[in-house]
Amino acid sequence: MNPRDRFAAVIAGEQPDFVPVIPVLDGYFAPRLTGRKNDECWLDGACMAAALAEGLRRLGCDGVVAEMGLGENPNVLGCPLEVRGHQVPLVVDTLVNGPEDLTKVKVPDPWAEGKMEPVQQLVEAAGDSVVIGSVRSPFEFAATVRGLIGFMTDFYGNPGLVRDLIDACFPATITLGLALAGSGVDALVIKDSFASSSMISPGHYLEFAFPSEAEAVKELGGKLPVILHVCRNSLPILPDMARTGAAVLEIDSPVDLIKAREAVGSAVVLKGNIDAVGVIEKGSRADVESAVRAALEAAKPGGRFILSTGDSIPSSAPEENVAALVEFGREFGKY
C-alpha cells in the first residue's frame, strides 16, 4: 500500500498494511528542519510548500499538513502578525473589539492572486503521500480576531457577541476549507484548539463551539474526510466531537487513548497522540520508542488508528526524534 491507500483504508474502516504514520508536520517544524527560517516561509507560500515537501521526503512519514505562507494565507483574517526568525508567528493585535467591529470580519478570497498555488505545489510534490489541508474552526477564528482574553471574557459578559462573532467567522472556515479541497488535498483538519477542556468547560464547548463545528464538518465532510483537532484535554467532550460526524478525531497527549476509544466507540478514527513537546522535543530516542509502543498497544487493535503527534511538532524539536517516531511506527505498526 502507498501512504494514500493506507490512509484511505483506515478511513473506510478497513485494515491497512501498517498503521499510517502522519505526525503533525506543519509550518512550525518544516522550515527549521529544512534549513529555512520561519519568517521566510510564513510570509512566502512557495517557500513553505517547498519546506513541507522536503520535510515529508526526509522523514518518510505518510503525510504532511498543508500550511500556506501567511502572506498568502488569510488564516488570521487580517489580524496583524509578527514573525521573527524561528519564532512562532504571533497575532499582535485584535480585529474586533466590540459589536461595532463585526463588519471588519471579511471572508477572504482564497483564489485571488494565486493564493492557493503553494498548496497545489505541495500536493504535486507529495506524490502518493497524504496532504492534509488545515483550516481554523469558526470558534478559533472568532477567538483569534477578538483576542483570546476578550473572547473568553465575553462568555459571561457578552455571550451574544461570542455567538455573532462565530457566525461572522463561519463562512471563512467553509470558504478556505473548500479552497483547500479544490486544491487537491486528501483530507481537511479543522483546528479547534481553544475548544479544549483545558481551557473551557464542556458546557461552554456545547454552547459556543460545538454548533458551528458540527455545521462545518457537515458542509466540508461531504467533500473530504474531516479531521477534528482539539488541543490538550479533550476527553470530556470526545463523545460530542464524534457526534459532529468528523471522520477522524485528533487527540492530544494528555488524553489516554484507551479511554478515548471507550468514549467514542469503534466507528471513528483516532489520530494521536505522542507528546510533541515532552517526548518529541525534549525526550530521548528511548522515550520516543516507549511512547510509540504504548500508543500502538492502546489504539492499533481493531484498526481505525493513525499514529501521530498530539499537536504540531515544535520548531526546535530534534530531527532524530521525529525520524524515530516514524521508524518505531513502522516497526511496531504492522498489522
Binding site: 519564532q87 482574553i149 473568553m152 471574557t153 459578559g157
Partner: protein
Amino acid sequence: MDLLSRFQKAIIDGDADAAAAIAEDITRVAEVRPDAIINSLSGAMETVGGKYETGEYFIPEMLRSAEAVEKALSLLDPYLFERRRDFSGVIVIGTVKGDIHNIGKNIIVSALRASGYEVHDLGVNVPAGKFVDRVKEVNADLLLLSAFTTSTKQALVEVLTALEEAGLRGRVKVVSGGAAHSEELARDVGVDAFASDVKSTLAVCRELLGKRGH
C-alpha cells in the same frame, strides 16, 4: 459574613457588580487597612486558581474573577493610594513585546501601588528600548516584565540585553512573571526573580528591595 469575606466571595464568584459595590462600601466605611484588602484579594485569587487546578473553573471563570478584581480595584485605587506608606521603591512594569495580555499585569500594578510603591506602567507589547528608557528616566529599582505566553521568551532576552547594553543591568533588578510562564523559563532567561501571582510578586519585590537596602 464580614465585608472582606463578602468581597472575597464576590471575586471568587466572578460577580463584578457585587465586588464593586463592596469596594464602594469599603471606601465609605474607611476602616479597612490596605494590607487587609490586598490580602483578601490575593486570597480570593488563590482560591480561584485552586478551582482551576481542580477542574472546577476554566479560563472564562478565571477571567470573570479577574474582571471583578479589576472593577473593584479601579474604585479602591484612590482609597489605597491615600493610605499608602511612603514610597518604598520605584518600579517600572509592562507586558513584553509580542504580548498583548494585560489583566494579570493590571492587578499586579494596583497591588503594588496599594503597597506603597511608585509604579510606572508602560502597558502591553512594550519594546525593549522603551523599558530601558523609562528605567533610566525614573531611576527604577525594579523592572517587572509580564509575559503571558512562553513564545515571548525572546522578548524577555531582548530586554535584558538592552539593559546590559545601556549599562543598567547592575542597577535594576528584573522580575518576570505571567500565566504560562515558569520558574525554569525565568532561570533560562536570566532574570533576578520569578513571580507567579500577586502574593509572590509582593514578596519578591519586598525581598529584592530589602536586599538593595530600601
